[in-house]
């Protein structure tokens, strides 16, 4: 609180007020940063959010429970699987439905593929924001192949709408497993190429190392989640520490920031955690496909479910960190309240606190390293 009161301290009146967005190539119409600059150095940057607000939580109150599922895609359209899964788990808790094992494994496999796709966008745009245009295109090339795989699985390339209350919509098509494994073989070698191209580039390390440092305590205080939290050295991952679905069956490492390019919690750590997580996701997909049990992919759920009055909270580890759904039922076929807690919104809060003294070029690095997705901020 003391920080909020001291907000105007050090303000000399000589600063230039800069509207960094919404019409700006880096914020492309969805975010605005009100930046106080003294030449190249920022006094502070205040994020101005809400450009993409579509009342998604309100929509959850007027559509039925299954009817809201396509809308959850739009909460985070870069990693829609997790938004699907979180909502499905919350409603399943309300309905007290047991999801079949095969559906759990399919959920895990599709989610981890989606995590790779989302992290590819993140690391690619990070490189673009630092001024290297080639890595983004290489990352998107690989993401296209993941999109192809997910399209074969559920027919959609962006807003998947794959998970259902009680299971998943479709089983694996014939030959899908081999296609995925072939892709993962290719992808792992591509990841080392990507590292050679950009991750360990000297300029890149210098641009991101010790820049926009979020100390461990600050990250926890602001409620950062996911790779942003782990980048600050906090070893916390829901998939391991509070497993849901099939995750308790898988073996994987949780990478945390080690200060490879400077300080723990700098922009490079957040970037590098994502690179390492892609490798781990690839391992999880392999395990899920290998041990995929036979059986049903959907539990028995009514067409218009009417859960008993009550409330349910679900938490999933999304590509942008912990994503929570809080669903309240009043006994009718429509939810009384649907609340989504998303990582990007929390990440926006920290920008004002750590921006003072940073350069304008570093603001871009900070936003990119937090991997915020505008629809997830505003919903």
């Amino acid at each position: 609180m003391s920080k909020l009161i001291l907000r105007r301290a050090g303000h000399t009146g000589e600063e230039m007020l800069l509207n960094f967005g919404p019409q700006h190539p880096s914020t492309h119409g969805v975010i605005n940063f009100i930046v106080d600059t003294d030449g190249e150095v920022m006094k502070k940057a205040i994020p101005d959010v809400g450009y993409l607000h579509r009342s998604i939580e309100k929509i959850g109150e007027v559509t039925g429970y299954p009817g809201f599922m396509p809308y959850t895609d739009r909460i985070d359209y870069v990693a829609a699987m997790f938004a699907n899964e979180g909502y499905a788990i919350a409603v399943e808790k309300l309905l007290k439905v047991e999801v079949p094992a095969r559906a759990q494994y399919l959920r895990a496999a599709s989610c981890e593929l989606c995590r790779i796709a989302s992290h590819l966008v993140s690391v690619g745009t990070m490189a673009t924001d630092i001024g290297a245009t080639t890595p983004l295109v290489h990352a998107l090339r690989e993401r296209e192949r993941i999109n192809d795989l997910i399209e074969a699985l559920c027919g959609a390339r962006l807003t998947y709408n794959y998970h259902r209350i009680g299971g998943v919509a479709f089983d694996m098509p014939t030959g899908w497993k081999d296609q995925v494994l072939a892709f993962l073989d290719h992808f792992e070698s591509m990841l080392t190429e990507f590292d050679r191209l950009i991750t360990y580039n000297e300029i890149y390390l210098k641009r991101l190392g010790s820049v926009a440092v979020i100390p461990r305590e600050l990250a926890i205080d602001y409620g950062l989640v996911g790779p942003n939290l782990r980048g600050s050295g906090v070893d916390w991952d829901l998939r391991r520490d509070a497993p849901y679905g099939a995750y308790k069956d898988f073996k994987f490492d949780v990478p945390v920031g080690k200060g490879l390019a400077g300080t723990v919690g700098d922009a490079f750590d957040r970037y590098h955690v994502r690179i390492l997580e892609m490798k781990q996701s690839s391992l999880i997909v392999r395990q899920a496909l290998e041990r995929m049990p036979e059986g049903e992919i959907m539990a028995k759920v009514q067409r218009k479910p009417k859960p008993e009055a009550g409330e349910a909270l679900s938490r999933v580890e999304s590509a942008r960190g912990e994503m929570a759904y809080y669903v309240v039922s009043d006994g009718t076929d429509k939810a009384y309240r649907v609340r989504a807690r998303t990582g990007s919104y929390l990440a926006m809060g920290i920008i004002e606190d750590i921006s003072p003294g940073m350069m304008i070029a570093d603001l871009v690095a900070l936003i990119a390293s937090l991997d915020v997705v505008a629809p997830e901020i505003d919903r």
Partner: protein, 455 residues
């Protein structure tokens, strides 16, 4: 997924397009070569042409006024050809860079207009001409309008002393190198004016960054340029080339260890002066929208753009001249060249020397393009640190080392040859290691080495 099958064999198409792309810009130096007899300082060519014209028109054109007018027309023609070389080279360079970028980014790039998309630069130029010339209401109208011409002038004036071949040079000034470093400084004036007059915060940021950058990097560039100047004992571009030989161990870059370092100092500084990645801070898209270009549209934007891409030629040609032996051809010492004078082979020799110069310059230009699509951008404080804390001291060390080196060479002339052979063999090994590494990296990801299917 079935692999993509090209509809026709693209090999001949690639060859044809590249032949055209190489021929078109170099048509201009060839035309200049052909018009050179007209521009002889003695004026004999102009007198002959006027006599011929007078016979055709049936009037007497032998007076001094007619002679002066004729000389002026010839000089204007040659200047026109030089500027057009710059314009057309930069146009084709845009196309070539976009194709290279497409290849590096595993996408196709422009391939619709003409063979291999070759005509896309013509389409772009026409589009720019047809666009509205927008001047923001709050901008300083006059300065906003004239800023591109400062940039264009700074770019075009460099062609006065840039050599194209043994005899193809507009004016072999005895202060050539000094002249080039002076006129390129005019570009920053234009950028600063455009940044200020746009009355946009982004443009102002871009202009200030550019001013800081270009002014800082002129110092290491100037210091690096003085190394070959000391070695040649002349500021004239042609004299510097004549002081070198055709073989790699006769090039200045290898004849003196300090010159090797100085080349990298100069190359880095030139990248910064031309606002190329990793020094594209003044127009950093992800930070400053488009920097000083933010408010420009239409033809004025095209002028900035043309100078920027034309600068690739200028910087590569300057490096070729100063460090890589310019137009020197193996087996053609100065005595053999002067023996050709007056024979038909003299014209052939001119073309060969132009080709050698162009090949060396284009190789360097490709390195510039390659760097742009590989490297991230540095930050402004890192940019200043690099210049003042590293390049300037290194430049001074090179300069002082060269002073002593020249004294040493005076005492023991074998020193230059020893250094030249040792360093060029070392460079050969570096090149071989580089290609081996590339080959290994490509096979590691099971990539295709040469794939022409997207042409």
């Amino acid at each position: 997924m079935a692999p993509y099958q090209p509809k026709s064999d693209p090999k001949w198409l690639v060859a044809l397009t590249l032949a055209v792309a190489l021929t078109v810009p170099f048509l201009f130096p060839v035309l200049i070569l052909l018009s050179m007899p007209l521009a002889e300082p003695s004026g004999g060519g102009v007198t002959l042409a006027l006599r011929w014209l007078g016979n055709v028109l049936g009037t007497d054109l032998s007076g001094p006024v007619a002679h002066d007018v004729g000389t002026a027309v010839v000089l204007l023609l040659i200047a026109f050809l030089f500027i057009n070389f710059g314009a057309i080279f930069s146009g084709i360079c845009v196309w070539w860079e976009r194709r290279i970028a497409g290849r590096m980014q595993s996408r196709i790039g422009p391939n619709r207009q003409g063979l291999g998309g070759f005509l896309v630069w013509v389409a772009d130029a026409v589009k720019f001409l047809l666009k509205e010339d927008l001047v923001p209401a709050e901008a300083d109208s006059l300065l906003f309008r004239i800023a591109p011409y400062f940039v264009l002038t700074g770019f075009a004036l460099t062609f006065v002393v840039l050599p194209f071949g043994h005899s193809v040079v507009m004016a072999d000034l005895n202060v050539g190198v000094f002249y080039i470093t002076s006129v390129t400084a005019l570009v920053v004036v234009g950028i600063l004016i455009s940044g200020w007059s746009s009355n946009s915060k982004w443009a102002l940021f871009g202009g200030m960054r550019s001013a800081a950058q270009v002014v800082s990097y002129e110092i290491p560039a100037g210091l690096a340029v003085f190394v070959p100047v000391l070695m040649a004992g002349s500021l004239s571009m042609q004299d510097i080339i004549r002081a070198q030989g055709a073989a790699p161990w006769d090039w200045f870059i290898f004849r003196n260890p300090a010159a090797l370092v100085a080349f990298f100092v100069l190359f880095t500084s030139q990248l910064a002066e031309a606002n190329r990645t990793p020094f594209d801070l003044p127009e950093a898209e992800s930070e400053l929208v488009a920097g000083y270009l933010s408010e420009y549209s239409g033809f004025r934007f095209a002028l900035f753009f043309m100078s920027e891409f034309g600068n690739i030629w200028v910087m590569s040609a300057l490096a070729t001249t100063l460090f890589f032996g310019g137009w020197q051809v193996p087996g053609m010492p100065a005595a053999a060249i002067s023996a050709l004078k007056g024979t038909g082979a003299w014209w052939g020799w001119q073309l060969v020397s132009m080709a050698v110069f162009a090949v060396k310059t284009l190789l360097l230009a490709n390195v510039v393009i390659w760097l742009r699509w590989t490297l991230p951008r540095i930050r402004i404080d890192q940019m200043m640190t690099l210049s003042w804390k590293y390049l300037v001291p290194i430049g001074f060390v090179c300069l002082i080392f060269t002073l002593f080196w020249q004294l040493g060479v005076g005492a023991a002339p074998g020193l230059e040859l020893a250094s030249g052979v040792a360093l060029s063999v070392g460079a050969l090994f570096v090149v071989i290691a580089f290609f081996r590494r590339v080959f290994k990296n490509v096979t590691d990801v099971r990539g295709d080495a040469i794939d022409l299917s997207n042409w």
